[in-house]
Subunit: 325 residues, 2 copies
């Protein structure tokens, strides 16, 4: 899968190093089970390059340093490469100052934010990061979308692996709503309001009303707003409402923070503290479903192991499309 992605990227004039890194990110996202932002998103990424929204040869540059906080310009380069670079830079700053923060404007969709959490955590860093997006969710008490779903990531080292939470501000993504509709299913929990303003588990009703539910109702709507304000202010970049004045989503604003656990007074006892928390969580009494209680990121490990052994399942039609690129 990676070599196929790389072949396409080289054809689009990526340098060998950049094609390798970008193909690696898309392939890893699929390997770890986040197909929506791996193999299934790859054709759209290529389309955005062809349309000029994503600049293949652009490099992010630092525009301002305030010490442990830096402001960068992504110059509309490939989102995954810019995000990988900003994560590395936040870690570099943090090695010096205990905490590092890089905010980047004019960047592009980072695909799956969690991968930068894994990147940092596996090197011994706590990671907090988020991105804004175009408008796709109404404010609380509103009918029309003026907030983004603004994904956010928290990560922490856990042994040789990591605990990684990667979540967006809508309870269910539009991708999930569409997939559930195609399968003729209902959502497991209310996922939005229908046109009559009632909560519904029908994906079709939500796709029609365009009123997906924020996580935690008014709380997630508020968090979306604050994440957009912070990303915009810290990066000096475009806010959700400015992004949405464009013909499509490009030039988003993102924030990356890193903290090296080795710099803390309680290193290396940190590992025991985290293990203790996870062990206690695992002692939970399962509810009626009887399902296993998992920590964020645990399923990624299972997917990775399974797919390394048995291969990554792909939709034949999408794969054929990629082979034709």
């Amino acid at each position: 899968m990676k070599s196929e992605f790389k072949r396409v990227l080289l054809k689009l004039d990526f340098t060998d190093v950049k094609a390798e890194k970008c193909a690696e990110i898309f392939a890893t996202n699929s390997l770890e089970g986040i197909y929506s932002h791996g193999v299934y998103r790859f054709p759209r990424f290529v389309d955005y390059i062809k349309k000029g929204y994503v600049k293949v040869d652009a490099e992010p540059v630092r525009i301002h340093s305030a010490g442990a906080l830096e402001q960068w310009n992504g110059n509309l380069g490939p989102g995954p490469l810019n995000a990988e670079k900003c994560t590395s830079r936040a870690m570099e700053i943090a090695r010096e100052t205990g905490i590092g923060c890089v905010a980047v404007k004019n960047t592009n969709h980072w695909m799956r934010g969690g991968i930068y959490g894994w990147q940092a955590a596996k090197k011994g860093f706590i990671f907090i990061g988020w991105t804004n997006t175009e408008k796709n969710m109404p404010a609380w008490g509103a009918e029309d979308a003026r907030l983004g779903n603004n994904p956010m990531v928290f990560a922490v080292p856990f042994g040789k692996e990591a605990i990684v939470l990667d979540f967006s501000m809508t309870q269910f993504s539009y991708g999930k709503l569409e997939a559930t509709e195609i399968e003729g299913d209902k959502l497991p929990f209310p996922g939005g309001f229908n046109e009559e303003g009632n909560l519904t588990t029908s994906p079709s009703e939500i796709l029609k009303s365009r009123r997906p539910l924020p996580i935690g109702l008014w709380k997630g709507a508020g968090l979306s707003l604050l994440l957009d304000i912070l990303a915009t202010v810290l990066s000096a970049g475009l806010s959700t409402h400015k992004l949405s004045e464009q013909e499509t989503e490009y030039g988003v604003s993102q924030v990356f923070m890193a903290i090296p656990i080795k710099k803390l007074s309680n290193f290396p006892a940190i590992e025991n503290a985290i293990s203790g928390i996870i062990e206690d969580l695992k002692k939970s009494t399962p509810d009626e479903s009887g399902a296993e209680i998992r920590y964020p990121g645990e399923r990624v490990l299972q997917n990775r192991a399974d797919h390394l052994k048995n291969g990554i399942p792909v939709n034949q039609k999408v794969w054929e499309e990629i082979k034709r690129l």
Copy 2:
């Protein structure tokens, strides 16, 4: 109200300066409409002092510095005073390094986290902070509480005021469930699972099952876990599960981050960027309820203005109790 709080605190051997500051925080929380963590919480705060969980004369001390990140020991001092001090210290560090982070262990309940967001934002700082708590919410898919509701605060300057989001990881607090039950009402949205494992709007059913709903379901449960891990690791303090081994909640772990907007390249244009975001939000089409679309913190301004003019409403019984302290 403030002088009444101060009278009680002086009687408990607070110094004049500390009594003044602590009374100010409790009174402001009530003034701004957060009665649950102002006047209504004051008797329990006094009780915790009398029982020795909160040490009146303890001062927080720095135990480790990693540059822009510091680890402090709260020495079980009054939570609001420790939190106010850690917020100030994070701002002080940030003035030097662009971002400052203070993590504190062995501290106590900060009452209303939002007030520290206002404190920082009104001085020109972006603020991010959170606390862990004792166990009060089940993990996703679990019946028994092993997670805290771990309140989190985001704040940003907005003109001479601030935009402040102060939210915990449960959709409704136990206080809200109890109040709704007493009033004989239903919750406006499902707030937890009943003993049969079905979502319910009945506060009584949730108070019985002890299964309040995390915000965003599995997402808020995950966020609660990560906030606990990060607070524990960064402060070298007690985690939710360790706190819950004690007879009551004391010695919690907290994190305070500050970023001075004056240090950013886009200052002072930041004010326009934020105003633009809020103006766009206010253009939202209201839903069926017809209610005003508000930004986080807007109601605080309304409460403050109303109460400064008309006084702070208090429950007579609670007020009598405070007068007898």
